[in-house]
Subunit: 198 residues, 6 copies
């Protein structure tokens, strides 16, 4: 098989970065500077600048907000619920981020396939059980579900965080599946091998 890197980023045309509105171009250049490449989600959403702005504003609001959840725990929720939704882009891209935050090269594959078998704490398993119920059967949430998470020390704001991340990626997964967003080749290996010292 030949490399995938020249394949389209999605079913929709990739924009010219130069022709984008200033704020989009600036965000894209920043992420490129930081990551060494532009994750395709930025290029795919740039097809619709207003949706780009709202999407990343929502992402940042739930993912960057100070919280009772660590950054790694937030990414676990992303990977577990994206696995349940069979979303290739999110499993691969957020799997990479999870490996880096958790400093564990195995945990993303574990959480994507079956969190019950993952090298994570009972508290994290309870968190993921709740997140998956939000992702897959939110109408059936009952007091017992909230209580099962609370007894691990999560408070009501944490519950909002867990549920909102599951909900935001319910949206992201569906859009990625809709437009067939392709994960960048770089994500597959990130966090799997020790970084070289500079």
């Amino acid at each position: 098989m030949t490399s995938d890197a020249s394949s389209p980023i999605s079913r929709y045309p990739a924009p010219s970065i130069e022709a984008l509105p200033d704020d989009l171009r600036q965000r894209i250049l920043e992420v490129q500077e930081k990551s060494g490449f532009v994750p395709n989600v930025f290029l795919a959403f740039a097809h619709r600048p207003d949706e780009f702005r709202a999407f990343f504003a929502y992402h940042d609001a739930v993912m960057l907000r100070p919280s009772g959840l660590s950054k790694g725990e937030k990414e676990m929720i992303v990977v577990a619920t994206s696995g349940a939704n069979d979303c290739l882009y999110c499993v691969v891209a957020h799997g990479a981020i999870l490996r880096i935050y958790a400093k564990n090269p195995r945990v993303a594959d574990q959480v994507a396939v079956n969190y019950r078998k993952a090298e994570i704490t009972p508290r994290q398993k309870a968190m993921l059980a709740f997140a998956l119920k939000v992702a897959t059967d939110s109408a059936a949430l009952e007091e017992a579900d909230y209580d099962a998470v609370r007894k691990h020390g999560f408070d009501d704001e944490d519950l909002w965080d867990i549920g909102s991340i599951a909900a935001f990626f319910a949206m992201s997964n569906r859009i990625a599946n809709l437009i067939a967003m392709r994960p960048n080749d770089e994500f597959y290996l990130m966090g799997r091998v020790p970084r070289e010292k500079k």
Copy 2:
């Protein structure tokens, strides 16, 4: 049974409108001016101002954007997918908006229960079939699904609209279920009886 109007708007405390950031308060007062009441979704999201801003920015980006879909058709997607997700708030609130846009007091109940039996066009049924696949099984989308909608005259931008609305409300439905957002009493009757002439 007594009125529901004094019940909490959700599992989380309702904010004091006066204490909200200016931009939130202004949007809330505008919607109150226009609708005669404040839909609870505005009060519930005001608990988290950054999420409020991003949520409504996304909502406006997909729902107010000029499109090959009419405003009524967009609301049909909201009601049909919210029905599939058993989301009380969205079925009731967007059902009201759909009745008004469609000038039809029955169509929202029909679409919420089973779009196949609704008084809508074959084109609209094809649109809802696609939206429901995005809502409930997006990983299984195949070319045949896109083709089935395209043959009714929807183009690729329309497909993005249909799918993005289904995806945005996949998020909204989960948050509403998570926090048990209560629909305002006003929504239940809106659009069911002819407006009185002034």
Copy 3:
């Protein structure tokens, strides 16, 4: 959209009331006298007089029988299970009856979408959980299911009532879906606005 009232009542031809057997015609005239219109279920079933007789005899046997359940509670079961079965006719027609019995213009929409969020008592929620298990997964009924309802004060005869109503409407919903029975326009608004004083 134009009115639906001239659309066919189902996939099958509507009978001429005059040409019906006496007992059917009499029952139809009685319900017309009482309700002000003939619900389409009477016309649709009149296509098969023996099935008409048995259907309404069964309906009356379970719905009119003195019981530990109130009339409103029985209609809640109808609406909740018909919602689970996506049956437009039964959700709309029995939603109307539920609103009238419960004297609550919101409860039918709530129960049809998600009884867990409805303005009903814990006892009624337990009753609906049991009814929905009968409706959707009766083979898996276990002692714990019976016990969960009994502890709210329902006795064995009440359990028969709850289950039989769920079962009878499992049949009704399937027939209504099979023949595409159309709810009369009148049902949509019934019980939503206060009756005018005469």
Copy 4:
């Protein structure tokens, strides 16, 4: 294991045949005369005489009505849909009747497990596919489903028969599961061995 014949017929008390209303007692004695035993469904429903009358009236209306379906084909529908609903009483009791009508000692077990592998005609397989859709997902019925049966020569009245039998046993299966109705020991062997000549 010891014989089951002394076990209760259901979760509810069996009535005394002598104490039953005349019409029930007469029907029960007739079936006993004809079959050599009283199928437990008669005793179980006798707990509620009005429901007994309506249940068997409905049963007779759909099962005994002259039809484009043979008696054996009607019982195939019962067995296939009861298999899908995991209803022990109906699979065993109607399996016996099917074996007798079809003069085939294997067909009931085949149809109960997987009609696609049964020794039946393509026309009968199409009939059962339609019946099973009515039984398990009636809301999703579409024109293509009706057409798939019609092309095997079934007309609209036959479609009503197929669907109504599936619907009636959707009710029966749920009641049998609810009350844990026990199949009589006699049914298990009926139709499996050639009748002895008298």
Copy 5:
């Protein structure tokens, strides 16, 4: 309906017993000697001798191994999980074996349809609940599932047995469905009538 006995044993050609490798022919002749006929599973797998050898070696390893489960209990697992997988060959063939081991002509039909209503012990019901979870949702197994079986006296080796039988027949059921393996006519009646004394 005419006899099925001349129909093909599966979608693949039946081998000539004479032309088979010695070990296969010998095993087949042994089973014919013991049973009076050759179960079609032997002929169907003989199409691929290496798979034949491995299949029956695995079968014997789990089914003939001394165990905390009786032979009848092992066959109950086969019948219950094959029922859940809608596998005609395994329900019919192993149903026969179960009837013989259990000396009960009803238990196989009961367990195939719904083990909750079967004439078996609470211990056996717990065993089947665990086996069915392995068969249908093994990824969701949790400590509570293991504990629920252990409290009936099953130890860890018994749990391996229960799960491995469910797993082995998960394979068998899929192969039988894939190749449309036909149960021999003889199985349908075996164990249903008392054996004639010699």
Copy 6:
């Protein structure tokens, strides 16, 4: 997070390699020689030598047999169906093997999450669609399923291969989930980075 390598290989005790029967010890030493480590599946199954022998005999019979499927295509089936069954061990271990055979570091993650988005040929997608139907709904296999694969050039022996691999891993996945088999750390990175030249 600390390394997982000292965690137990499964819920059951790992055997002492020295104490194993000769044939098991020899096979284990061979695989260790070839791979540089002992995959945990060999140690886990060594708990039951007869099941070890039959398991690997079956594995070899279907996986090593000359076939119209390439070795890489066979591993695609393993990874796709193990993904559908949420089996951590098989997704991780066979994902490694697939990457090596396919000389593609991305394809295993793609196939495990959603084969429809993978960098594979239409022929391979058809093969996986058929394999997944065998894995998840084999009772519903119909002629159209066989035809859809055949038109890509697969013959009846290839169909047996595809289905048998899906079936064998239906068993493997369930056993791995039952005993909580842990993938060796080595698998996670295999095939993701170019091998160093010697």
